[in-house]
Amino acid sequence: MSALLKSTKPECALNSGMPVVGYFCSFIPPELLMAGGLYPLRLNGLGVEDSSSGDAYLSHLTCSFARHITAAVLDGHYNYLAGQISINTCDHIRRANDVLVQKSDLGYHGFLSVPRSFRAGLFPWYLEELTRLKESLESYFQVRIIDQKLKQAIEQTNQARARIKTLDLLRRQDPPKLSGAEMLTVTVSARILPAEKFVAIADSLISALKDSEPITGIRGRLILTGGPLDDPRFITAIESQGAHIAGDLVCFGTRGLGMDIEPSDNPMESLARAYLYQTPCARMMSEFPRRFQALMELYRDCNARGIIFQRIKFCQLWSGDAHNLRHRFQENPVPFLVLDREYGTVSTGQIKTRVQAFLEKIGG
C-alpha cells in the first residue's frame, strides 16, 4: 500500500524516460499513448493547495478540480509534461483546455470530442476521433502507433483491470480486507503508474492481503457514487465513522477504467467500444437509466444499506444526477446522502457529522 501511495507522486512519471502526456478524462484510452511509447498520466490536482492561477482564468464560479489542475500546470507542478489531451467532458474541462492551450508551455495539445449518447449511430464519430488523436500523437511525437503495440498495451491494461477487480472483491467481501480509502488509492495509482508497474505492486498487495486480518467494527456498508474523486482522505473521513465503502462508481475509482477488451483484429475499434460503452458518467445525456441500473446492481451485489453521492461544487452534470436519483428514490426509497465538496480540501468535521447521522438513520 505504501508503494501505491508513493505512486501518486509524480516521481514515477519523471523517472520513466518517456514523454509524459497528461489527460483529463476516462474516455481517453491510455492504451493509445502506451502503444506510442508515451507515458499516460491522468491529470489530477493532488497535493496542489493553491489554485490561484486557475481561479484567475477560470473564475471562482467553476469547478475546483479544473481550477486546481489548471493551476498545477501553469505553476509548474507538471513541468515534466510533454503535452495534454482534453475532451468535451464538461464546460469546466473545455475552458481549462482553452487556458492550457493559450497560456501553458506544453508542446502538445490534443482534443477528443466524445458523443453524449450510446446511440449506435454515434459510434463511428468516436472511432474517427480516436483515429485522429492517434494520428496527431504520431505526428507530434514522431512515433508509430501500430496494431501490434496496441494489442500489447491492451493486454497490459487488461491485466491491470484484472488486479483491480481482485482487489475490489477484497474490498467488497464481508468483512472486507481493504477499506474504501485504500481501494481509491489503488485505482488512482492505476491511472498514474505504468500498467506493468501497477500490476507488480498490485500482485504484492493481493498476496499480502491474503493473510491479513479483515476490517472489523463496520456500522454500515455503503456505496459511493458521483463525480471525480481522487483524494482518499475524503473516504477516510467517511469511513472514520464506521462506514465502509463497499463499492464505488466514481471517476478515479472503479468507474472509468474502460471495459475488458477481447483480443481482436481491429484493436482501435475494440478500444473505442471499451471506452465509449463503459459505465456512463453524468455527461452522457441519455444514459441515466443505465447509470442507475449499474448503481443499483452494485448496491445489491455489495449488500449495501445506503448510498453516498458526492460531487464537486458547481458541477451541473452531477448535480443533475442527484436530482434524478432523488426522483427515482421517491418510488423505491434507498437511503441516500448527498455531499457537496470543494476539490483540494476535505471538510472532515462536516463529513463526519453528516455520515454519523446517516449511519444512525440507516440503523448503523
Partner: protein, 438 residues
Amino acid sequence: MPILGKKRKQEWETVWKTLSDLKMLFAGDQEELALNALMQNIQNFIREQFQKADAGKPAIWYNIGYGPPLIYALGDVNNVPLAEMSALCSIIGDQADTEALIDASEAAGYSAECCSADKAGIGAVVKGLYPDPCCIVGINTPCDSQVAAFQAMAELRNKVPVFPIDVPPYDDDRTLKYIAGQLAEMIPFLEKNTGRKMDWDRLKEVCQTVNRTSEYLWQWMEWRSLSPTLQPSKLCAFTMVLVIALLGSPLGENIARGLAEDARKKAQEGAKYFDEKVRAIWYQDPVWWDIQLYDWMEAELGLVIPMDIFGFYASEAWIDIASKDSILFGLARLLVNCGPMSRQFRGTMKRYIGDFMYLHQRFQADCGIMAGHIACKHAWGGIGLFKEACKKAGIPLLIFEFDMFDSRILTRKELQFELKRFTNEIVIPQKARLARKS
C-alpha cells in the same frame, strides 16, 4: 383571464392577461412596429399551443439550444421549449411566478447551480404547466446545464422516448455533417412518436420561412449598427426567443419583419428621445427580470446596447433547399452556428472572443458589459482570457455576477450602481481622452 374560454393554471392566466394588457397598451402607439409585432405574435404562439393541447395534438419538449423547424415540418405538433415559462413569466408575466418556479424546481431537488432558465422550466414541469410530451429532444449546446436539464426532463417523464443530439465543439464541415446525420436519424424517431409523417415539401416551406426570417434579422442588425441606434435597447435580445420557439413559423417571420421595419423606420425618421453617450455590447444574458432597466440605462445614462449576444444572428443561417441533404446540413449549421450562445459557447473561447470583437467593431461600441449569469460556467470559465483580450484591445469591460431570471442574486439597485459607475467613471472619461488625442 381564461385562455380560449377555459380556466388554466394561474401562471398561464397571468401571462395571458398581462400579454393582453401589454398588447392593448402598445397598440395605442402605432409607431412601435416591433413591440406590436412581438406582442401579437407571441400571443398567437401561445394561443396555437393551447389550441393544439386542447385538441390532444402531440407535444415535443426540447431544451434551449434546439430549435423548432423540423417540428414545424411535422404539421400540427406542439413545440414546447423547456424554458418557455421562464421567459414568459419574467418578460410578460409576473416575475414572482418565475421565482416561484425556480424555487419549485429546487424544492424538487434540482440543483440551485443550474441555469435559472432551466430551473424555472423544470419548475414548470413539476407544476404541470406544459402539455405532456410524446417525446423529448435534447441537445448539449450551449452548456452543461442543458445536459442536466435534458436528463431531468427525461427522468420526470421517464416513460417517454428521448433523442439526444450530440454537438461537438468543433467548427468545420465534418462536424456539421455529423449533426446533419443525427437530424436525419431523428426524423423517424419523431415520426414514430408523433404519428406524423415528415413532409419534405412542408419542410422546404419551413426552411424558406427561416430564410426570409434570417434576411429580416440581418437587415435589423444593419439598422441597429448605425450610430445613434434609435431602436430601443430592450428589443435587442428577442432574437433568442424567436430562434428557440418560433424559427420556421410565420409568427417568427412576422416578429423579425417587425423588428427590421421598426429599426429602419426609426433610423430614417431620426427621432431621438435621449442623448446617446455610450454604446456597449452586452455580452451575456439580458436582464429578463427587468426589461425596463434598459429604458433607464438609455434615459439616465445615455447607455445604449446596439447589440447583445442574444440578439446577434450570424450570417451562416441560409438554408439551401435544393436537396434533403442540403436542407439537413443547413438546419444543422443553423442550429449550432447561428443559435445565440450555442454559436459562441459550444467551442473554444476563440469564437466567443472573436464574435465580441466583431460586434464591438461592427456596432461601433465603446465598451463591453459581461453580465455574468452565474450558471454560465462556459462563460465564467473563459473570463480570464476574455479580460485579457479586452485589455489588449483597449476595450473597457464591465463584469458582474447576476442571474437573468432571478432578481434575488443581484438587485436592480446594485445593477444600476455598477452600470452607472462604469459608464460615468470609466467609459465616458476614456471616450473623452481618446477624442482629445485624435
